[in-house]
Assembly symmetry: C2
Homo-oligomer: 330 residues x 2
């Protein structure tokens, strides 16, 4: 039996975000699907970048944002993901380690460059993401150390891993290792289009392999092809130990085995950029869960962490998330 070293092990696409503001007309003009995450190839990435405004770069990646948030909240966290040995890869590795997350995945020494996500932020603070996966396609099962999984109380997987084949194999290996070691498996459905691409397999995951599910309203409705939120919620109930279903300004519903909690959204004075909202929601939830808190408290912490990240540009918490949490959470 391996001792537990980490509260959360995150596995995900290792991505550097390029954020630039734009009007809604820009989305129309360039055929972008608002609020979605669209996969693009190198050529399209170059074309799109050329027409985007001046940007700022910061480390991103869904599961990476989540473990960065867990660490910022005082949890112990580790990350597995693939960058290349290039400048953006160095930035990614630097930033995730700088917040205290252990990151040992070897960078690829050839092939495609480090992944980037071209993110357009419209005046309504919504983000529209266009991901060039680059080196992420090099992630494979050989990058998953089963002892590391066994040493982690929770293995957190992003649905986006289902897109590149190697990453999907890494996902399945990690999930098996967590199961074998009697650890928890958490999954984020990532994006409703991602759910569309992998519905049958995601249904199997949710119903047979996942302990803690994170999904927003669109994603859970898409998963069950339900008519409305309540129908989707009833469908997921009982299929996994915990489902945390987020609904933006309507708050969230946490469904446990014998409990349902409806948690109001944390008030935010000025929403600047919703990038990372779901990722930090998961971070707050998992940090609370790791501290042994009950579901309503986990949901409250989740909402506070999400509120912080949408109050500024970028997908990772700024400054001192623990102090921010103490301020709001009593």
């Amino acid at each position: 039996m391996v001792d537990i070293r980490y509260d959360v092990l995150g596995i995900g696409n290792a991505i550097v975000d390029v954020l630039a503001p734009a009007e809604d007309t820009f989305l129309v003009e360039h055929g972008l699907v608002k609020e979605a995450m669209t996969l693009i190839d190198a050529e399209r990435a170059e074309q799109l970048y050329a027409v985007m405004g001046a940007g700022t770069e910061s480390s991103g990646g869904s599961a990476a944002n989540t473990v960065a948030g867990v660490a910022a909240l005082g949890g112990s966290a580790c990350f597995i993901g693939k960058v290349r040995d290039d400048q953006l890869g160095n930035i990614f590795a630097h930033d995730i380690r700088a917040v205290g997350v252990d990151f040992h995945s070897e960078p690829a020494t050839g092939g495609a460059p480090t992944a980037r996500c071209l993110i357009v932020v419209t005046p309504d603070a919504k983000r529209t993401m266009n991901t060039y996966l680059g080196a992420c396609v090099e992630l494979g099962p050989e990058d998953v150390d089963e002892d590391l999984v066994a040493a982690s109380a929770i293995t957190y997987l992003e649905g986006y891993l289902w897109d590149p084949d190697g990453a999907k194999a890494a996902f399945i290996k990690a999930m098996g290792a967590a199961r074998a070691a009697d650890r928890k498996v958490a999954l984020s459905l990532s994006d409703s289009f991602c759910v569309d691409r992998h519905r049958e397999e995601f249904l199997d995951l949710v119903e047979h392999h996942v302990d803690i599910l994170f999904a927003n309203e669109d994603e859970i409705i898409s998963l069950y092809q339900a008519d409305n939120f309540d129908a989707a919620m009833q469908a997921v109930r009982g299929h996994c130990e915990i489902a945390a279903l987020t609904r933006s300004e309507k708050g969230a519903v946490i469904v446990g085995r014998d409990e349902v909690h409806v948690i109001d959204a944390e008030p935010v004075e000025h929403i600047v950029d919703t990038t990372g909202a779901g990722d930090l929601y998961a971070a707050g939830f998992l940090a609370g869960f790791s501290q042994g808190r009950g579901l309503p408290e986990c949901g409250h912490m989740a909402g506070i962490a999400a509120a912080e990240v949408i109050s500024h540009m970028g997908a990772r918490p700024e400054a001192d998330l623990q102090a921010f949490m103490q301020d709001k959470f009593r």
Copy 2:
């Protein structure tokens, strides 16, 4: 006689900024000189980056920030500076073009990588800069097209160019070309330590070659080794056509041939990061000057542009600087 195509041609070090917040104790612990720009080598850059917190990357460079500001204010601008053909170089080129600045300098295809400035922002919003010049040392007189200089109403040069030898030669060539074409030469003294390094040559520049001088209080005092601001101001008076002397929250003093204007600082609700304050001050001033405005109006526009850039992280204006200006400037 070449027709004028640009209001401002900026020549400077082409740099990508890496900004990270830190406490003042961090500066002490790592021997950083608060609020200064310190030149560092590749090894020191790596050491310092390793201990810095998670950062955000954005295009910087003093003169580059200034021409970006001029363009954001509706002026026509061009930039000369040297990046490498790497990821950070692509980011620099993208960002400056994205705001409408013409940038044609060929990237270096070998040698050191694109320059970066590791910037630590302390809770008092002051920035402490550590610059690894990288590819900037490849800038030389061959990069200065004399026709381009002749086609620019103002050639704006940063004092920092005096650090790498090739850049200094480029500076001198550009200055000569501007003189020969009867165009204006503007200079920013950049930093009091930079003035220390090149005092005699800077005195010669200011007294014989420069039409519009930008300096903050520390820099002008250092230049004349004066006892106080007033003494430095009296010393510079008459030596160049216009000297715009900035004093942070005390505002600025604009000294012309027969006029002296004392302009109050623009009020800023919450100062977040002073990076780029001087650069955007120059941008606002030169934009006003290009529009044929009088010195008090130029000074007012300068203060407004500086106020915008210190109200957020990063050294370039966010969103719509023209709208911001119209809002404040009546």
